[in-house]
Symmetry: C2
Subunit: 224 residues, 2 copies
């Protein structure tokens, strides 16, 4: 089964890129509030992607990320000025990869490697370049071309189209369980990177494999 995988498609935020530096910056700007703010920010950012998709009122990920930040600051009584908003949005362009990412990707060489992300091209291109991944990846695919967010099946179909690899030969990797399950429902072979040790979401499908970090991925697909 492992030899069938001709391409690996990765989610970006939380899967390859560690958003912890954004959390740290939240705490630097509003001491003691960083965790509460970043959790609510992330929750609203995602809610808005789902709600706007269903409302047929797409705005790009940069827009919904700022909207989530404004809501979260309002709800927590934190004053968000232009300067703070600019610093936090800028931090999204300079995220580090998780420590195991570079080596794991190197061991997967020979397959097509790509990102499939909610992020807009204007957010993804700098973060990929700043992390030194531009040469490693065959494609950086954004939902922005479709104006719809994950887990709509058209998003996963975009990876099939852009990579020219059949659905059944694509392995999909995400730390977001609902994203992993959206990809599974679509037909990919799915590796859920369960960094937080969370329960699996109850959406009627299960990932093919579960791992705690991407260091386990090469062995799981027989590339060790």
């Amino acid at each position: 089964m492992s030899t069938q995988i001709k391409a690996l498609v990765f989610d970006a935020y939380g899967t390859l890129f560690d958003v912890h530096s954004v959390i740290r910056l939240c705490d630097e700007i509003w001491p003691g509030k960083g965790t509460a703010l970043s959790q609510l920010w992330r929750a609203k950012q995602l809610e808005y992607t789902w709600q706007r998709s269903l409302m047929q009122r797409y705005e790009d990920f940069s827009h919904v990320t700022r909207a989530g930040l404004r809501y979260a600051c309002n709800a927590l009584g934190l004053r968000l000025g232009e300067a703070e908003q600019a610093r936090l949005m800028e931090a999204y362009l300079h995220l580090a990869t998780y420590p195991e990412v570079q080596e794991a990707l190197a061991r997967l060489a020979g397959r097509k490697l790509a990102i499939l992300s909610n992020g807009s091209p204007a957010m993804l291109e700098p973060v990929v370049a700043n992390a030194g991944l531009a040469q490693t990846l065959d494609a950086v695919i954004s939902v922005d071309a479709l104006r719809i967010y994950k887990p709509d099946p058209r998003v996963y179909a975009l990876a099939v189209e852009k990579l020219g690899v059949p659905t059944g030969a694509i392995g999909f990797v995400s730390s977001n369980c609902w994203d992993a399950l959206g990809a599974k429902a679509f037909g990919f072979r799915v590796f859920w990177c369960n960094r937080a040790g969370a329960p699996v979401d109850e959406l009627g499908v299960l990932p093919d494999s579960e791992m705690r970090s991407l260091a386990e991925l090469p062995a799981l697909i027989g590339a060790a």
Copy 2:
């Protein structure tokens, strides 16, 4: 403007029906955990409606409500047996209305009054009957006929179709801000019942009116 409203369409859970009794039962079964459990349960219940809608894998609200409960118990380390699950789901069929609901609806008589809810008919019919609202309402409309959840615009269009009243003559009332804004984006005149005093969601539209309870509604539409 107020004379234009020929029908009022209400969200059910949290707007007409007080879900507090479910929270209390959570706390009775798992003392000290009721608030955390019911918050996570509600969050997952909603997430699953959005995610399943986008995944094109609709299951009815009873199904996603049970799924959310299972996830929340798993995440909090609470043992959910058949008996507990049955008691909690049964509680959804016996919710009380908020204290001001009966009088507010009585003062709105003369207009068409309806519910438009994510709830399945098998959940809505008993709760409406048990609360004594069956004679007050002209229609109890469920998304189930469409197999898609709020805030998809087809859901709001269903109320127009079922009531035979033009979009612009329908007032929509919800305590869920994202639902209110979905209805506003569709074209209804929208009254957000902000029971919790929350910030407005950042979805690019605003409700026409905001109130803290339905007691304010008759005056807002000129029926006082």
